[in-house]
Symmetry: C2
Subunit: 342 residues, 2 copies
């Protein structure tokens, strides 16, 4: 198994990405291809060669920055690290790709290099999130900001396949994110999608639709896959991060209000560490981009080495479980969705 | 000042609403009109008459349930408590209305009874939220799930007026919720709205536009008014509740893992109480429905007496600050938004 990692993306620099890859490689049988500037990466790899023999550098001399226009950058920078990494997958020289680049660029590059799975109109980023009982998959988290109801239907097929074959949920329950549990609640898109999902219900439906769910259901453990458009999904994710961040800050403020309280908190240190671990995005690593012809894991721009390691492990899991092949088969078998009711 | 309160809405029954109104009335010069079933409300009011003389009952013998179709219910139940309460405002017998009914019903009834402010196409619910530094206003929180960019422009005018005249922010900073801070990021609606907002910038613009903001900026204190469509706003709010709920539960689980830890937590009880207070929706009370010809405060369906009391106080503040008149004037003065660039 070979995994290509775009070493030049993210906010913290290629050394941090390299460290994450080394940490993953130590624990893995896979071969890792670190794609980026050899002047930076070669010394890093040389430094750990004896301990981590399964990492090699593939040269790529350009970088797509975090704020560049994706499609433009794709044309202007053919030797960008994320493009070279995607080409390794396309050419069969790697089985999957990990990038913590600019999400828009990662999506555009994957689409243009790996192409879509036949039968899938638009791709989706499937983000695994912590719930009270385990993991819930939210998609789309930002690949397709403008969707129609057929896109949401495809997201449901792909998301449930991912939850089943990679996350390990035997029979994933799929919910459509709305602003009320009744089928008639929502915006125009979600109302149309609800009709489509209901029409498809039955023995042949490739997923188990439990109806509309609301934002607060996401974390309650009552649903395994939550489907929404990429604008809503991305906004929800960032808002969740904001709430968690604010709460952690408010807790710190309140608990540290009096200096004499500090020693009293010591016995709770492990509890707070477990709390942080349960809430931490880095624990979860990257999110797969579903709908393209190849395993592509997109990490958070703020990823540290630990998050990069987890993203590499997510890629390994997806490759081991033949995620792309399973989705392709599932999409082929799925009945075409009924024509939209306008 | 007279405030009409729909006593029959909410999940906890009219006695709880009545209790909230009594608590508000004790601290207020205003007269409260408790609208609903006299068989339930008269004994409640009689019980506290000596202590709270400024509450009276107005009879309404029907109830719009939490799951009824709003417009249908409006036609079928002319004597519903929320309709009677809105009519009191329309007829000048009350200066504002508080309801914790089904949000859809509250919006439909207010629109059909009070009518829209001239120049406003669609109404918006403006929800005050806690941020690290104070209060941030999010709108629309669910009145208008499907918006065009002009609607968002009107929301910005109304939201900034509310933040200024009621919340007390001298010069509110308005942000457009998107999935990236760059002007070109977002879905089709937000991209169009960004162009509209930028075109309107300048001395005559009735609000201070700071550009796109992301979900995690909402709580950071860097923006005072966040504008989005009603589907996104409602989904964000409920997701925030879900995250806060999950974190509280995880904290409880982690801190109570060992029975011997319990007594050690005692000194932190006030800190946890302050924490809960800072995060609690009930502290904030209801959210005003902006864009209709009358003060209308919509409370959370789960409101307890404390939340109802705060909703009543929100109505008082809005009435005292002439919210509806100020918005009406601001909308009249505002230059018509430039024609949409398609």
């Amino acid at each position: 198994m070979r995994i290509a990692v775009d070493a030049m993306g993210g906010d913290r620099g290629p050394e941090v990405v390299a460290q994450g890859v080394f940490d993953a490689a130590c624990r893995s049988e896979a071969q890792f291809l670190l794609v980026g500037d050899p002047a930076i990466l070669d010394p890093e790899v040389a430094r750990v060669r004896s301990r981590v023999p399964n990492v090699e550098v593939v040269a790529a001399r350009q970088i797509i920055g975090m704020t560049e226009q994706p499609v433009e950058a794709f044309k202007r920078k053919p030797d960008a690290s994320v493009i070279v990494a995607a080409q390794l997958v396309r050419d069969g020289r790697a089985d999957g790709l990990v990038t913590i680049a600019n999400t828009g660029a990662a999506v555009a590059v994957s689409l243009l290099t790996l192409r879509r799975i036949k039968g899938i109109d638009r791709p989706a980023i499937a983000t695994p999130l912590p719930s009270i009982t385990g993991t819930v998959v939210l998609l789309d988290a930002g690949a397709t900001p403008d969707c129609d109801s057929n896109n949401l239907f495809e997201f449901a097929i792909m998301g449930s396949t991912y939850a089943q074959s990679v996350v390990g949920v035997a029979r994933p329950r799929v919910g459509l994110l709305s602003i009320g549990e009744e089928d008639t609640k929502g915006n125009a898109l979600v109302k149309r999608a609800n009709i489509l999902f209901r029409d498809a219900e039955g023995a042949e439906c490739p997923f188990d639709f439990i109806g509309n769910v609301e934002g607060r259901d996401i974390f309650r453990g009552s649903v395994d896959v939550v489907v929404c458009d990429g604008f809503v999904g991305n906004a929800l994710l960032k808002t969740s991060e904001g709430v968690a961040e604010m709460m952690q800050r408010v807790i710190r403020e309140e608990l540290n209000r009096h200096i004499w309280m500090k020693p009293l908190l010591l016995p709770f240190k492990p509890a707070f560490q477990r709390l942080r671990k349960r809430m931490d995005y880095a624990e979860r690593g990257g999110a797969p981009l579903l709908g393209v012809n190849g395993v592509c894991i997109i990490g958070h721009g703020r990823s540290d080495a630990f998050a990069v390691m987890n993203a590499c492990r997510a890629a390994e899991r997806a490759i081991k479980h033949n995620l792309v092949r399973v989705i392709t088969e599932r999409v082929c078998r799925a009945p075409a969705p009924p024509p939209p009711t306008l």
